[in-house]
Amino acid sequence: MKEDSPELIVQLVVNDRPYRVVVAPQTTLLQLIRDHLGLTGTKEGCGKGQCGACTVLMDGQPVNSCLILAVQAQGHRIVTIEGLEQDGELDPVQQAFIDEGAVQCGFCTPGMVLSARALLDRLPHPDEGQIKEAISGHLCRCTGYSAILRAIRRAGEGNKPRK
């Protein structure tokens, strides 16, 4: 059984790097990522699962980090927006967002990009319906979504699944 004390130790892998972090029971995964690890690409919008700004990949699946306790990430593999770039090269999804002008204020972008990345890893050539479904857990207040859809379609066209 885990230590029954107000301070808990979490061991997890974030962006391929192992971490050992001391947290309080009520610390969320979002707080661990932003405040303990200083990875501020992950955003907090609503704090209750509605907006998708806090989305990270947990064992490859998009999840709302605002609704997960940090301790629940024990032993799991997390990818944040900072983890997509490899050897100084942007992920093709990130590049497509730039090329299509799919970023305005940018608040929704990290989550959108991660959900798109997970989709393309699962379905290398998604159709329009599958793309819409994949980003249905994200709100964007700026773009009107069409540029985002175009960007994901474009990334899909040149897609080779990672790893």
């Binding site: 885990k2 029971p25 699946q61 998009p62 629940q72 249905s136």
Partner: protein, 288 residues
């Protein structure tokens, strides 16, 4: 969120022990998509949170004798993508696929959806029409209870604080049987059902048998539409029958007016959703 004690028990036995000792102040944590919202927003303050997510024996989908067995920690995502669930209980796969968003479906579990007992819970009408049961276990033993009898009111169930849901099961599909779930929300993702309908039935020589209909979001709990079940039973599907069935379904609702829709609107919706299912089956029955 306020401070609480957190424990991650290593077995079901240990969980039951801790539930037994802790009485009312303990909350079981599965995916957390209901519990954490309630703790953040609605002032729920458990003294002890028992994280059961690591109990692998409570996860999975498999055939067990004449049942399809589902571990309570199975996520909506896994339910929606399971070939076994699609084959034996299509309505449940459809319900699970309509929960929240992909992110919520990756975390939210069937056990949490049942225990939370919202009249809008998307897996509950399908479970009710599939004649599903839940296994409730405490230190004193375990028993199976129909999902239908578990629901006592909004957020109120027959689940006792010392009990854990340790299994969900429904009988495998009889020849000629089918099921379907339709939900209406104010938009396609991230919207709680304004009304929903699940139907399961067997087609015997072109006639309805073993009809079960459950309605979501139109009463304090998910309810059966027994009057409509009677109307359909023994009859062949046709336009008149569909008209008769949809005309009487609203009488089986006790809807409320709220921000999502008026009582009148919800009644119109259940009629339309039921008609949609029956029309869709009608076409296929006549074609086949």
């Amino acid at each position: 969120m306020d401070v609480f004690r957190y424990l991650a028990p290593e077995s079901v036995e240990e969980t039951l022990q801790l539930l037994d000792e802790g009485a009312g102040g303990v909350k079981v944590l599965a995916g957390g998509t209901d519990l954490l919202v309630q703790m953040k927003e609605r002032g729920l303050r458990p003294g002890l949170v028992l994280d059961v997510a690591g109990l692998h024996e409570l996860r999975g989908i498999r055939m067990e004798g004449k049942y399809v067995w589902i571990g309570p920690l199975t996520t909506h995502w896994d339910l929606a993508h399971s070939a076994l669930i699609r084959e034996h209980g299509l309505a449940l796969a459809q319900g699970a696929s309509k929960v929240g968003s992909p992110q919520i479906r990756h975390r939210g579990t069937i056990g949490g959806n049942i225990a939370n007992a919202s009249p809008a819970a998307d897996t509950v009408p399908p479970l009710v029409v599939l004649e599903a049961e839940v296994e409730l276990r405490s230190l004193n033993g375990s028993h199976w209870l129909p999902v239908e009898s578990l629901m006592e009111g909004p957020s109120r169930t027959a689940l006792r604080p010392k009990e854990l849901i340790t299994g969900v099961r429904f009988p495998h599909r009889a020849p000629g049987s089918r099921s379907q779930y339709e939900k209406f929300g104010s938009r396609q993702a991230l919207s709680i059902a304004v009304a929903s309908v699940a139907v399961a039935a067997v087609q015997e020589k072109g006639r309805f048998a073993r009809v079960r209909i459950a309605l979501g979001s139109v009463s304090p709990t998910v309810v059966r539409a027994t009057r409509v079940e009677e109307i359909l039973t023994g009859e062949a599907l046709g336009e008149d029958l569909i008209a008769q069935a949809t005309a009487s379904v609203a009488q089986q609702c006790r809807p409320i007016d709220d921000v999502r829709g008026s009582a009148w609107y919800r009644c119109q919706l259940v009629e339309a959703l039921l008609a949609r299912i029956l029309l869709c089956w009608g076409e296929e029955w006549m074609a086949g």
